[in-house]
Symmetry: C2
Subunit: 365 residues, 2 copies
């Protein structure tokens, strides 16, 4: 990374090929939880290449309220109407931000309507359903992206470039944590993220442990090979999920080991650290969209730290999604990419349950 370039344009969009004249990609937002309303819709409004034109909810009233708050939104429909093919002339792509266990149904519907899909991670609540989700997109020939916003977070992209350029030698070890107090973040008395019928086998690894796991994968440019894990729940709100707290290790291709932790019931914190043979790289804070970033690299006696104002990660993600669509090129994180994480995450739960080491590629086969 050239220092002058970094100073002038740390957050440059090295992926962008389209401009506003090429767009917009009109997006239907599925699921009107706090993430969609407070993060996704404002992010799209702030971006260049997308526009929110349809909102979809189980509650027509809620959808209409959201529609009335935003000038670009033309249609407010229910999930059933979405599945039935309502308003297909009003959107080009669907952002699926429902609880995990409902992704498949709406991706299948979008695929049937021939719409591109941006699907939140983790892909689904089970590997089988995630496989069906990817297959539905494949069979319909629609573009499917899994929504890993770290892939367009500038600090993470710069970290990946630095590692690729040998700034820390060969990567050897990784540390990553993501933690938050979910009970204080959501209003629901019974959050779906703590309901195994909806979230999947657990909450902390599934919902936020995926950040260190996948971001390490991205900056290392290496897939997970084996995993181990330990986890426990003691708080009564977590009595249906095994992982109020979790620690897990991931072996990546090339023999890099990552030591990760995640908790939905610990102080909000996030970081990613990569230790190489020649130096060390840190992104901290790393994973929450509302914080400024710091990227610190140490090699020998020299430390360089870049402190940067946080970009809107969701704006970057939506514009990247649209940019790929408008220029007709594949997404970095497609269905196959998401499936590898699904196997790794389920492997962590399997390993924690059985006490062993789990081969990622064998999970769910």
């Amino acid at each position: 990374m050239d220092l002058a370039t970094a100073l002038a344009a740390f957050d440059r969009r090295d992926w962008q090929t389209a401009d506003a004249d090429d767009g917009p990609v009109r997006v239907a937002m599925l699921g009107l939880g706090w993430w969609t309303i407070e993060q996704a819709i404002p992010a799209v409004a702030a971006g260049e290449l997308c526009e929110t034109t349809v909102v979809v909810s189980s509650s027509r009233e809620k959808a209409e309220r959201v529609r009335d708050d935003h000038g670009t939104i033309e249609r407010a429909i229910t999930y059933d109407e979405f599945v039935a093919g309502e308003a297909t002339d009003a959107y080009d792509a669907a952002y699926v931000c429902t609880p995990n266990a409902y992704h498949l149904e709406y991706v299948e519907a979008a695929a049937e309507h021939g719409k591109a899909v941006l699907c939140e991670k983790p892909m689904e609540a089970s590997i089988d359903r995630a496989e069906r989700l990817a297959a539905a997109a494949d069979e319909a020939g629609i573009p499917l992206m899994i929504a890993y916003r770290m892939h367009t977070e500038p600090a993470v992209r710069r970290a990946r470039e630095l590692i690729d350029a040998g700034a820390i030698g060969e990567p050897a070890l990784v540390h990553g944590n993501m933690s938050e107090r979910i009970l204080e973040l959501v209003d629901d008395e019974q959050p779906w993220r703590l309901d195994p019928d909806v979230v999947g086998p657990g909450t902390s690894v599934m919902d936020i442990g995926i950040y260190p796991l996948n971001t390490a994968r991205y900056v290392l440019d290496a897939d997970p090979v084996t995993v181990q894990g330990m986890m426990a729940s003691t708080h009564e709100a977590f009595d249906r999920v095994p992982d109020e707290r979790a620690a897990f290790t991931v072996e990546y291709e090339g023999g890099v080991y990552a030591a990760c932790t995640a908790s939905q019931n610990a102080a909000s914190a996030s970081n990613l650290r990569v230790i190489g043979t020649e130096g060390e790289l840190n992104v901290e804070p790393a994973f929450y969209p509302w914080q400024d970033r710091a990227l610190r690299v140490t090699r020998g006696d020299t430390t360089i730290e870049a402190g940067v104002e946080g970009v809107d990660q969701m704006t970057e993600e939506f514009d990247y999604f649209a940019d790929c669509l408008l220029s007709d090129r594949p997404f970095y994180a497609d269905g196959e990419h998401g499936l590898v994480d699904m196997r790794a995450i389920f492997g962590v739960y399997e390993a924690a349950d059985a006490g062993g080491t789990v081969v990622v590629d064998e999970v769910g086969r």
Copy 2:
């Protein structure tokens, strides 16, 4: 921690009861490797309560050269002479800093001579020998301390106090790494730390992974309960040990999980991070004696960071050792303390080998 006190005396010796008039404790140094010569002997000379009076080496010439360089050293003897009881009138305590597999023999000899012992960690190259080492001290009634210099590192003591005072709520998750390029740190063509006959079952977890493992234990005031691990060696210099790189997880009493890494073939780096229910605490750099320290604590929107000039950790350790002896009080890290770490470390190797979760208290039984 009172901020005014922290500013005035971050590195206060809250453990000290004796003064220079009560001493010195005269120390025989066993093993004249670089650590003893470059770290331990200067540290004792800089301290208040100890004096190096005897040096012991396999090479009489080397011992005499070291003796001639230091005014306080009266006697330069061989290991055989030490075991036979030479110079027992010239020292009160023995610092055993030989390769791991030789600790037992010299602790047994010191015990036979009725001398106090400061024994380097890990205690020995096998659990059986470590048990015999602790038993030898017990049976002879001599005071035995295992040399964990982090227990008297001011940043670590302040971290422990802060955690105990609830500064980060209940501790939930820990991250710790220690890494170094051992081949560049030592001159030997075949370093003993890579020789399983001398070091024990491995090098990275055994020799430096013990730092995050034990320092977490110390700041949490909780013992390790179960462990998991993954490790590999690819560099030819590491072909007799399994852990050129290692990642391991430790469950501590109270359900705190630590995600740890260690490598004897990665960039020199060290850190300890504790994430609690209310905040996060970092010591970085953490474990190398020649660096200044930073202790950073975040709770909500408030971060307080203390940057402090590194004390000489070995001076603190030797003076603490002497202070306990002079005031006739027990050491924090006695033989039983060291044995728990031995079981945990061997458990990590066992877990990595078998791919399971290992109960620390069952290891080596």
